[in-house]
């Protein structure tokens, strides 16, 4: 299935401004700690490897912003055909595959969270596959979409789903 290319579709692109701010803000802290604790360090090798692993985990935060900087085209498209969320996969998921969806707020962040009829038929091809199970513990559906990192707000994402999804959301 291909996404409707008409101007009626809602499209959200990665925010290059947000990506640059996140990278510029975190890079000095990560490189400074990496330099003093790992590279230019007098700690034993085991400690340095431990610090490197911890810093590596923190550095994962930068994967999203870097990905948004290099990704061309819209990250989220919502149309009458369905929705395509590049944070999940390159596939357009038709509305007939969606069991239900609703907007939720978690730690002040608004999401559109989506439950699928057959999740195994629409597997994530991104790092989202690793967080899918954890998200379920927090009341999320199979796929969660937020406006963070996009050039559209979370409210606009919710409005797009309200406009194009065939069924009414289940409520907040």
């Amino acid at each position: 299935m291909t996404m409707d290319q008409s101007s009626l579709a809602f499209r959200a692109y990665g925010s290059r401004k947000q990506a640059l701010i996140a990278i510029a803000a975190l890079a000095p802290m990560l490189t400074g700690m990496g330099w003093t604790l790992v590279v230019n360090s007098t700690y034993p090798l085991g400690s340095r490897l431990f610090f490197a692993a911890i810093l590596g985990l923190f550095a994962l935060v930068l994967v999203g912003p870097v990905h948004r900087l290099v990704t061309r085209g819209p990250l989220l498209e919502v149309s009458e055909d369905g929705f395509r969320w590049r944070g999940w996969s390159a596939e357009t998921i038709g509305w007939d595959a969606v069991k239900r969806w609703k907007p939720i707020t978690y730690f002040g962040i608004r999401y559109v969270t989506i439950w699928l009829h057959e999740p195994h038929r629409h597997r994530a091809t991104t790092a989202a596959r690793w967080t899918q199970g954890v998200n379920g513990w927090f009341g999320h559906g199979d796929i969660s979409i937020t406006g963070g990192g996009l050039n559209r707000s979370s409210d606009e994402v919710v409005r797009a789903f309200k406009q194009y999804a065939p069924k009414a959301p289940l409520g907040r």
């Binding site: 803000a25 400074g32 309200k162």
Partner: protein, 119 residues
């Protein structure tokens, strides 16, 4: 209620961020820069001096935020809100300066920060 309308692709590529996100970015870079500069000036050996300077900086930032928030919000509302192209250029300029400051902070930190932390 009229249905929501979505802008065409040209407008969809607009990229607005909240100014506070930019200011938070500057704050995080300045913390790292301050730590490196204080070490370079030889203050890092004295925890009392470091603590005093840190408290003074936090206080100064809180006062500045209290004093400047009103005028800045008014400027955004009265000038930038009606001239989005100007606001976009200002944001890109601020972010460009932030990136340069970040690179300078990284290089400076590598040159002056000691091995195994600064404590």
């Amino acid at each position: 209620m009229s249905p929501p309308s979505f802008p065409d692709d040209a407008e969809a590529t607009r990229d607005y961020v909240e100014w506070r996100q930019i200011f938070i970015g500057y704050g995080m870079v300045m913390i790292m820069l301050m730590v490196a500069v204080l070490h370079q000036l030889g203050f890092s050996e004295n925890r009392n001096v470091m603590s005093g300077i840190g408290s003074a900086v936090v206080f100064a930032v809180m006062v500045a935020a209290t004093v400047l928030t009103g005028p800045l919000k008014a400027f955004r509302r009265d000038v930038l809100a009606i001239r989005p192209a100007l606001e976009d250029r200002l944001q890109w300029a601020a972010i460009g300066a932030l990136v340069l400051l970040s690179i300078a902070t990284i290089v400076h930190g590598i040159l002056v920060l000691p091995a195994s932390g600064w404590s």
